[in-house]
Subunit: 395 residues, 2 copies
Amino acid sequence: MINIALLGHGVVGSGTAAVLNEKASQLKRVTGQDVALKYVLVRHDYDVDYKEKFVYDFSVIENDEDVRIVVEAMGGINPALDYVTRALNKGKSVVTSNKELVAQHGRRLMELAKEKGVNFMFEAAVGGAVPVIHAVRNCLKANSVYAVAGILNGTTNYILTKMIDEGMSFDRALKQAQELGYAEADPSADVDGIDTCRKICILSDIIFKNHVYPEDVAVEGIRSVHIEDVNILKKHGGCVKLLGVARKAGEKLMVTVAPFAVLDKGVIGATDDVFNSVQVETDNAGTMAFYGRGAGSLPTASAVVNDICECVTAGGPAYEGWNGPKEGFLADVRQVPMRYYLRVEADADKLRADFEGAQVLHSGSETAMITADICGRELEEKLSGYSVKAVLKVF
Amino acid sequence: MINIALLGHGVVGSGTAAVLNEKASQLKRVTGQDVALKYVLVRHDYDVDYKEKFVYDFSVIENDEDVRIVVEAMGGINPALDYVTRALNKGKSVVTSNKELVAQHGRRLMELAKEKGVNFMFEAAVGGAVPVIHAVRNCLKANSVYAVAGILNGTTNYILTKMIDEGMSFDRALKQAQELGYAEADPSADVDGIDTCRKICILSDIIFKNHVYPEDVAVEGIRSVHIEDVNILKKHGGCVKLLGVARKAGEKLMVTVAPFAVLDKGVIGATDDVFNSVQVETDNAGTMAFYGRGAGSLPTASAVVNDICECVTAGGPAYEGWNGPKEGFLADVRQVPMRYYLRVEADADKLRADFEGAQVLHSGSETAMITADICGRELEEKLSGYSVKAVLKVF
């Protein structure tokens, strides 16, 4: 019998309880063990049919040697970090869906788990149901990855999809997302890119073996995405997506979160509404991508329960070696050459002369175009005399 | 030291040798063992820098107890089946990229491997570099799957992409694919859907725990796809894709290979050129999809080498339980209700009267429309008085 303790009973926690119950016989078949919920840590009492499992004090879970796996579904750093640390110290494996916790403290918790010979798993913290952590850990053993890019936040992707498909303004699309419960009353963590940033930091650690902290990443949200640019790109078969991107730049790693002009066909451009996707660029396998529901109670819970199964069947800790803390391994995004989408109040011919190799998408009183590869710093200099309406990185 | 024997030295075999060599230190790091090529079974001698590993008689490999993993990259049933069976009987794990072998004999070989306590792995046989076998085995433990659909053949997808993007006829696109080496001189296995059929049979076994034999599947290729229908669908944001589909239909399983009208946004419609993708429909996680290069030397070899790593690190055989042989578990495709795309030489109003709830895409001397859900048998009856130009299943 594998006893599970669940910390938190919100969207993810209650979904996890439901999936554990609904799939009990399937879990027994695939793991060879009975997997059962023993405790649910809650703050106050209310009515569910497994109310007898409610506890209000974490030390009950911490001190019960029969609890083998702790699922942290509370979110936030406090008290999650304290509880997770204590659970690992007691030799319990931990599964979490908490991206903030993993982005800030994941590497330290992985090290602690390894030291204790248990697992610290967090598939649900990145991309919801999309098994991207599992895939990059287990399916790329014959590859080196040089870039990863993802649509990692369903709320912003829903807003952008509304802008692209229905011509809505950002403000109206945000309001609709709030009415549907996709966006919170304070939408900052989503629309300002903070949530996406946490997730690309986690992916960067697992893929590139260097932990990237959110505060070190240049993050731009989608508040300044104009419907004009969405429409111009749409006419050319493109769109705008909020991406988290990590890419090798020589010996360094470039990590950024920003709204990108997506021109490419492929999975990223086809990921609409609340779906998430992650594209990985490798040397041998080429481009690979993983797609699925980025949020929601049951999709996220299904990733949590899959991690629980891995904890049960794993021989030892799923541990990533890493390169250790490294000063200065992050590249300055503005020093890495890439293409940019520009909309500028200027004549196309004048701009063409200043930006050799640019592709003009729209001309009139304003000109929209895609530049050739250029560094952000150089771009700024070249644009200094112009009235610039929009600048987007190009995917 | 883990000694590998490679059977065959064509596109996949030579790629596997290259990846094993190139990634030797990475493989040692991820598996904890030296993984090295000991033998390459070839038919005749030629010049490569590891020529000393060439052998011409399988029994050398069979009888060498130091060979722990045999990679079968010969293709076809004979002598692959004989060699794979003998390798498993000697307690060696087998990794293969041979879809024909796995589609026809995979279940029997999985049973034999289990009996011998070794692995029989075949990621590269379905979707090339796309880790779909791994994902459905390892990432869906908290889900039940009710449908799987895939673009599983790069050659036909390349041809269809040319038809969609450039308005080429089937014949011209096929010729171009042949000139580029994507299609063989005899393209039947690809364009008639045989290759896709083998792959959907393999996926059906792993996902639905019942082995489906290619000869029991209704298969339609892409020779009869008209550019007119491609263009009509394109105008409505859709396209035509050759799909292998397996879907639960009550207690039965519907398996089919056919060109589908794809209306949905999402990964399947965004999979172009020689890329493959597989979409899985689940109860808890909802829709998931996996995308990548479906063929090519290094992408396929990277899947083979990843399987090799799994053989090295696996505690025991990766074995799927199954439901055993079951008479009559396959549904008749023509008795399962689904939407159809029709192009008929008839007036739209007359057709609308006969097909309630249909959506007209094009009207003129011919009418193109999408029906509501209807069984194929009933559709045939309703169409019996009409001059029918095209019928496609709708995805």
